[in-house]
């Protein structure tokens, strides 16, 4: 109920540069999605090395990992644009750009939240591949791939996406301790 209802806006050009950088990052994820998929499949190869006892071979140029080599269920998986986490990051990056533009004061918090949400999405996608590999080893190539790629894979994506999204929104929009204290004082 005061006459001044407009929050102070930092005059720095930093938020604008940050917004431009985030938009550029979103575009880069589209343009360089193949390189991203290569990194993603290489990471999957490393993890499969750690978590499986059979042979693993990565053909980075074709974004493909072969696992179960030497076992009864060898399989090659190609990271396609439908499977990569690159495109899942884009909406979050764009929303971050919008938040930074509209409320520059929370830029640091938004970037931190974006980093955490991105990490979760990347980990969840790796988890999906590990689950698929585990199911192939357990149920055989056909049934393991069937359940791992469709049902379980989709659920992992959805729940992982939900966790990433909730954490992103919660962390990016929550009030700082100082803000909460000020609000309590104002109400009192």
């Amino acid at each position: 109920m005061t006459a001044t209802n407009v929050a102070a806006r930092p005059s720095s050009a930093l938020p604008r540069m940050l917004t431009a950088a985030l938009i550029a990052l979103a575009m880069l994820l589209v343009v360089a999605h193949r390189a991203y998929q290569t990194v993603e499949i290489s990471l999957a190869g490393l993890l499969l090395h750690v978590f499986t006892s059979s042979g693993v071979y990565v053909v980075a140029g074709q974004q493909t990992v072969y696992f179960g080599l030497g076992s009864t269920h060898p399989l090659g998986l190609t990271m396609t644009p439908e499977c990569t986490s690159a495109f899942l990051l884009i909406p979050l990056v764009l929303v971050s750009a919008v938040l930074v533009t509209l409320r520059p004061a929370i830029a640091t918090r938004v970037l931190g939240s974006l980093a955490l949400a991105a990490l979760i999405l990347i980990v969840v996608n790796q988890l999906r591949i590990m689950t698929l590999a585990a199911l192939v080893g357990w149920l055989g190539t056909d049934r393991g791939y069937y359940w791992g790629h469709t049902m379980i894979g989709s659920l992992v994506s959805v729940f992982g996406g939900a966790i990433a999204l909730v954490l992103f929104v919660w962390l990016a929009t929550r009030r700082s301790r100082v803000e909460r204290r000020n609000e309590r004082r104002e109400r009192a």
């Binding site: 396609t80 495109f87 909406p91 929550r174």
Partner: protein
């Protein structure tokens, strides 16, 4: 388009669709919890306030008389201000007849006359005219914090307990609360449309039932959850506002309501960014007539969609306000983005299906093998995610609001609501076309009782 580009497009659209679906699922879960946990609040003492019902009318001779009688009988202590927006029918005669009904002028019934060219410029302008006249009538020395204005449709029936519910400590009993919205119900939810038979009768009844379900579950749940974000918005009917709050945003021109097609939401934005709190209660309600006719319904929803699009101009104001938290501003941004997201959805969601259809034409065998080899599960999962967030309101409505019939009926309500909600994709496109053509007039939807020659809305 080569194969690589198609795969990228498919991957991209899938990611967007997945993100939007997951976001919506999470949102629905978040709003359901506070709705189901709702407990009635203790009522307050309505005599602590003075109440003024504002009834904007444009060609309402069929409904305004019974409404005034209802308001005067149910709330004898309240004033009724009827705003005649230069009606072509006998609206003002009806009001005058009631005003001088017993040979002397009732001091509780007021008629605010508007004439063209100043009249018929929108509901907001009509309400502003009443606000100014009412202020002049009240006088300068009255305690404006005790004066409460209640906007009611010409066919509106506020519940008898609405004044005591709104006078409660959590609502107008709290001096920081500037406005309160109450729950809305459809008075004709159990009345089949007259003059209709067969499937048209069924369709009319179902449409009204869906409007009742929407207001009493999904919209009420959204409003309840906004209690946490501090962004409860106002509606066009059952809108209560403190006069001192309206004063603080009226400016020199005396216009607390502004010019968009969604003047109710707009009012909420101005109050919130001025530092007032807004409230919502499900402990009382206002009954209004639901629309039986699909065309009239689409006109109404187009107007709401267009109004939401117009309110996009407040995004900067919302985010710049120090009175709104980031979560609150994000919630309002999400609301304002909804018609645009619906447009995006109509463009994005069909792409995978179009590509699949193309592939089916060129390689039907491969598609069949792909589908039966597990892809059907994907269809089932994503189909469920697309429909369940809407279907769930059917059982909730049955459980919490209208427990009649078996659980099958509840599921039927849910399925109907899922179909009903898809009309918003149509209205969002209609709204954006109207916006692009500069048609920003007030399309007042005609009431059920008005038999027309095909014109279903009055534009200016």
């Amino acid at each position: 388009m080569n194969g690589g580009s198609v795969t990228v497009l498919l991957g991209f659209t899938q990611a967007i669709a997945l993100t939007m679906s997951v976001a919506f699922l999470v949102y629905v879960y978040v709003i359901i919890v506070p709705y189901l946990r709702h407990r009635p609040a203790p009522p307050g003492d309505p005599s602590r306030f003075e109440w003024h019902f504002l009834v904007p009318c444009r060609d309402e001779e069929l409904v305004v008389g019974p409404t005034i009688r209802y308001l005067r009988t149910t709330f004898p202590q309240a004033h009724v201000w009827v705003i005649d927006d230069d009606s072509d029918d006998r609206t003002s005669y009806v009001v005058e007849g009631l005003r001088y009904g017993h040979g002397e002028q009732s001091r509780y019934i007021h008629l605010v006359r508007r004439t063209r060219p100043q009249a018929r410029t929108g509901k907001g302008d009509a309400l502003n005219a009443a606000y100014r006249e009412m202020k002049a009538w009240i006088g300068r020395h009255s305690d404006l914090t005790r004066q409460i204005l209640v906007v009611v449709d010409a066919d509106g029936r506020p519940a008898a307990n609405c004044l005591s519910a709104c006078a409660g400590d959590g609502l107008f009993g709290d001096p920081t609360v500037g406005a309160v919205q109450i729950d809305v119900r459809m008075s004709n939810r159990d009345t089949p449309p007259p003059r209709r038979t067969g499937w048209r009768r069924w369709l009319g009844s179902t449409l009204v039932r869906m409007q009742d379900l929407e207001f009493r579950t999904a919209i009420a749940a959204i409003q309840k959850s906004r209690g946490y974000t501090g962004t409860i918005s106002m509606g066009g009917n059952g809108q209560f506002a403190r006069l001192s709050a309206l004063d603080s945003i009226a400016g020199a021109t005396g216009t607390p309501w502004r010019g968009s097609l969604l003047e109710d939401f707009e009012l909420g934005v101005h109050l919130l960014t001025e530092g007032w709190r807004t409230g919502f209660t499900m402990d009382t309600h206002v009954d209004q007539e639901g629309l039986y006719d699909l065309r009239r319904f689409l006109v109404q929803r187009t107007r709401w969609g267009q109004g939401t699009m117009q309110c996009a101009r407040y995004v900067r104001r919302i985010w710049d306000s120090k009175h709104l938290s980031t979560l609150g501003a994000a919630e309002m941004l999400y609301y304002l983005a909804q018609p645009w997201m619906q447009l995006l959805g109509t463009l994005v969601y069909p792409i995978p299906f179009v590509l699949l259809a193309g592939r089916t034409v060129t390689s039907p065998g491969w598609v069949w093998q792909w589908f039966t080899g597990g892809a059907w599960v994907l269809f089932a999962v994503y189909g469920s995610f697309g429909i369940l967030p809407f279907v769930i309101w059917g059982p909730i409505y049955w459980w919490k609001c209208e427990r009649k019939g078996s659980f099958l009926r509840a599921l039927g309500y849910g399925a109907g609501y899922a179909a009903y909600i898809y009309t918003f994709y149509i209205t969002s496109w209609r709204a954006v076309f109207r916006l692009a053509r500069g048609r920003n007039g007030w399309a007042k939807t005609r009431r059920n009782a008005e038999v027309t020659d095909g014109v279903i809305a009055l534009d200016h």
